[in-house]
Assembly symmetry: C2
Homo-oligomer: 655 residues x 2
């Protein structure tokens, strides 16, 4: 038990048993009830061994969050989560456990089939049920897709289990008393709707915490599954602090940890006292059992992932100072890779090392997530690849200690090239739409490399190839289908290029081993080395083909963070413009190119491999949805006058 | 004007002007306001030229449905749809138009940013606004993600435009009177919640049509965007007939036509009289302006896509008699291909022709959707490809009249093969996890072919490669990543193999040109011809690798249509078992194989190209969502007793 708390707290906490709460910040596997249930039992045992009043688990504990349509296709796992819940209840003693589960709405015909619920279990039985009222359906959330919103907040009696409807709402207290202390319990989104905190801008008319406060609970408890995203940490901290202070009630917030597909949950469960002061916080990105006493103001504050606090302040202007968000970015992705591999049963990764920034950063992330022996880097030079790039790839692999080999693709590319040229000649006899200039041969190189990576994945068990596309390039569709954008997982798909440069430097400075990524990788201009710039005779850089990354990333930042449109940006002063002369025509050209390319990139976004959402907004298909056939949007808008003229003209043609 | 109605109706209809309604069943482009607005103007003009009382358009007319997060990223198109609406209003005369649009909720802080609304416009001005109350969030629908449900049904005054909130609800009539006739107007899902019709099993507690009925309207109008799916047609017909009969009120139902990405809308707008009898129906899968008079019982009934009526009856047992659904399937996919190409600006398709069923059916669909000159079939034989398959591919192309060429892949495959074998040797020195048997070399063939197809797509403008995977094989993950499952569009991803056989025969019998698909294609056993069966020495068939398609497709049918689980199916009698001896052990083996393979196929589903939803349920990622990391689901479930034993054991280990 000693490892549960630092020694300085041990005596203090255990001498204050009344009000003792164990926060079980667990990492579940979606749909694997037995796996999740055993974690629950382990922590209930621990809580009982220290005779705490309560042990609280995250939202949908037994099922894992999110579970999506899985429960529609496999209703049997919902049955199982009820069975496990009932069996687990039997092992509880005086210590009370609060466990999330999917509750079927049996015998009820109106509405969706399930509630997102919590069971309060104690002394061998289910004591009470709490159901989620506010169902987020935005960004990565789909709650309303498969859950019915609860018509009432707080506790309802145990006999409503699987059989609760509006006509049965009991007028008994919505709070619950455990060992003499009154608790107001809610689920995740239920605590995110305080009108005062959000300046009256809220998503729902109802505020469950406000309703619970009317019964003057001694402590609020909220069971959550809230993924980490840029700028969310401070918002969450401030909001929970505000609520506890406003209602003069301590607030216990339990969060899920671990990644489920695209969402990386950061844990960092926490407790605020009734003055709104943080008195306990669990680790970020780690499973943990944290013991607190919110009434007695006792708990331990583990540090947030370094720098997270600093990302909290809302950034008003675009800056290249990414430092405050880099450790969070690193850990978010690391957990994303590790859990994707662990939970799907993969162990090893194979990655093409070009000597460029994207693959170098990915290789470091993979080595740290999976262990260096489980990573294989392959340098696959083509005729365009410089000897510097080859050396950089080899040096990086050597520094990291991952497995490495070189496999020139020249023969394969030449062979495909030759065959394709013959095919093109034949096609030309039928179609007259051949491009004068094309990227075909550039893409052949990227696709040949992917054939090797997928080949290794097919030939060696539990091995996944890695897609190395970054966010800036995905926005521009500057990624090869079945080439660099293909893989079993895409670690950096939500990291823009300028941030990747910062991350590379940060990795070089902050990992135990310093300067793993060769300085030359960071110094060189990004480019896929797939083609030669006819003007310079040098390999074409990405910025030749697109626009300066600093400018490109600021467009992305403005769209995602400030919701600016084309004209907002045309009139804004970009960071790039502060230190470089940028003629208006050039700015217009780049902005138009951005919008045109972004529209044409929609298809590529739709077939991207699983990747981790990192930023405040993303183009991950689970986070942003746009019909591919809407690509002809008029992003510049139109004036009333123009419409009126167009109408006149159109009407003339009609007659 | 004469082409508007058959001559027999012309005089009858035009002599009954009062109550005349034009149903404008249009095919919009999502987000392209100008394109959609011009269609609206065209049909308003038409309606005004025949002096009809009304012209009604589908849901979200100006925006196209669905629009998804596009309006969040491009709020400017919402501004534009309001501007266009106001300008269009100015050209209206006595004829009243009902137009769908996205309505911003300005000055309102609680809830989502938009309503899904209709504007009733007449005599140069907006007369009234109707807002959608019931927001579907299941299958391919995401309405609640970006719309706020309306707190009130029916009409509200024009001055609530963009500025409506609950506190402003007017107690004026919810119906609207136009030329002396009273209309009760609703939007799509609003009419799908009749408790009586659905035997009290409904998704929402509120029934907007029931509420409107209290004001005794003369006619109901519902503006919809409802995609076609197997078995939906009869349900829709019966429901609308039931409602009109129940309320003794004619019902005018206007549907969108055309495809938006994965959803193919069938149009088939219709009118029921107050006895619940169908009196008018527009064409399926075609834009049309249909003139009706619901009060006078006047209209034309265009035939449903042949056989659709017969698909209506709920099939209680699995059958290979797909005939009733084949024309609908054909037209659904045809429209899907055509609109995907048209709306994204592509014109030509390139497809690998193996001489097998999947690619043959795809080629016919492409030729019919895009025109034979816009299709290029390539036979890419490997060493395993039989001469019969080569001939079949060529014969099919010849029959169809599409462009054709042969490009052997042997050299390229050999070259990659050789290089990969060297790589594998090197990898083996580092890792000891090489498979004894692998599919690596099989996949190389499929991937080499995709390299050629994508190469042509890169080299020739407006040309997309086609993914030929079918539904049965996708369920089993029996498709090669970056190989046959890669492409710009996947026409048959929602058609199971046994249905494809039926579709092939149907195409041979029902297209103008008979027997396009060589009989030998239909006769041969499906198989990718990627490997040799070591037992028979013949190319490995898909059924060798999987299980009989008849059995496989019945599993899919039972899961999708009857929601059966593993044990339900183990105990059910399959069609296959009725004519073949199937030992229980074999059945168990196949069922287990199915579930195991389906779980491992989740990743492949997530990276599938856009495809058309055809069936009542699908694995299209916009229709079915399951975390990839949930692949370890216990699909067999567990008993209380087993749980209790597992718990005991686990607790013993813990102490």
């Amino acid at each position: 038990m000693t490892e549960l708390f630092a020694d300085k707290f041990k005596n203090k906490i255990l001498s204050q048993k009344r009000g003792l709460i164990g926060i079980a910040q667990i990492n579940p596997i979606a749909g694997n009830i037995e796996y999740n249930a055993k974690k629950v039992v382990k922590y209930i045992n621990l809580a009982q061994s220290i005779e705490s009043d309560l042990v609280v688990f995250p939202e949908l504990t037994l099922m894992g969050y999110p579970i999506e349509d899985t429960i529609d296709r496999y209703p049997i796992i919902v049955e199982d989560n009820i069975k496990w819940l009932k069996e687990i209840a039997k092992i509880t003693t005086k210590t009370c456990a609060i466990i999330g589960f999917v509750e079927p709405r049996e015998d009820i015909n109106v509405g969706k089939k399930y509630y997102n619920s919590l069971a309060v279990i104690q002394n061998g039985a289910i004591k009470s049920i709490v159901r989620k009222s506010l169902l987020p359906t935005y960004c990565e959330f789909n709650d309303y897709r498969y859950f019915e919103p609860s018509p009432v907040v707080g506790c309802q009696s145990a006999d409503t289990l699987c059989n609760f409807d509006e006509s049965k709402i009991e007028n008994c207290p919505k709070t619950i008393i455990i060992n003499g202390i009154k608790y107001g319990i809610s689920i995740c989104e239920d605590c995110w709707n305080n009108k005062e905190f959000f300046n009256d801008n809220v998503l729902y008319s109802k505020d469950p915490v406000e309703e619970l406060s009317k019964e003057n609970p001694d402590v609020f408890i909220n069971c959550s599954a809230s993924p980490t995203r840029a700028k969310k940490e401070q918002l969450k901290h401030n909001m929970l602090s505000f609520i506890s202070k406003k209602y003069k009630t301590p607030f216990v917030y339990v969060n899920q940890v671990g990644a489920i597909d695209n969402s990386s949950f950061d844990g960092s469960s926490r407790v605020f006292n009734k003055e709104g002061k943080l008195i306990a916080r669990a680790k970020s990105f780690e499973e943990q059992f944290l013991i607190v006493n919110p009434i007695k103001n006792i708990g331990e504050i583990y540090p947030l992932t370094n720098g997270s606090e600093k990302t909290l302040a809302e950034v008003k202007e675009y800056t290249l100072e990414y430092e405050p968000d880099l450790e969070r970015t690193y850990k978010t992705i690391l957990q994303g890779i590790r859990d994707y591999f662990n939970k799907t049963g993969f162990e090893k990764a194979v990655i093409g090392l070009s000597g460029g920034l994207d693959s170098s950063v990915c290789a470091v992330l993979l080595a740290d997530a999976l262990g260096k022996d489980n990573v294989l880097g392959i340098s696959m030079p083509s005729v365009i690849t410089s000897s510097e790039s080859k050396n950089d790839a080899q040096n990086l692999a050597q520094n990291l200690g991952i497995n490495f080999l070189e496999a020139p693709i020249k023969n394969v590319v030449d062979n495909i090239d030759k065959t394709l040229k013959e095919i093109f000649k034949k096609v030309e006899t039928k179609w007259n739409n051949r491009f004068e200039d094309s990227f075909t041969m550039d893409n052949i190189q990227a696709r040949s490399r992917a054939i090797f990576l997928w080949g290794i994945s097919n030939e060696f068990s539990k091995t996944l190839p890695i897609a190395t596309s970054d966010k800036s390039e995905l926005y521009m569709g500057y990624a090869t289908i079945n080439g660099d954008m293909s893989g079993g997982f895409a670690p950096i798909a939500d990291v823009p290029k300028t941030k990747l440069f910062a991350l590379a430097k940060w990795l070089n400075e902050n990992r135990a081993q310093k300067n793993t990524i060769p300085q030359s990788v960071i110094n060189k201009k990004p480019g896929a080395e797939l083609a030669i710039n006819s003007e310079t005779g040098e390999p074409l850089t990405a910025e030749d083909a697109l626009m300066p990354y600093e400018f490109l990333d600021e467009i992305i930042w403005r769209i995602e963070n400030k919701k600016e449109n084309y004209y907002d940006m045309l009139n804004a002063k970009f960071l790039y413009e502060k230190h470089k002369n940028l003629p208006k025509e050039q700015k217009i050209e780049w902005l138009d190119k951005f919008y045109r390319r972004m529209s044409n990139a929609l298809y590529k976004w739709s077939i991207m491999p699983p990747s981790i959402i990192v930023d405040s907004r993303s183009i991950n298909k689970h986070d942003y949805k746009q019909p591919i056939t809407s690509s002809k949007i008029n992003y510049k808008g139109i004036s009333e006058k123009e419409i009126s003229e167009k109408l006149k003209e159109f009407l003339l043609c009609q007659t």
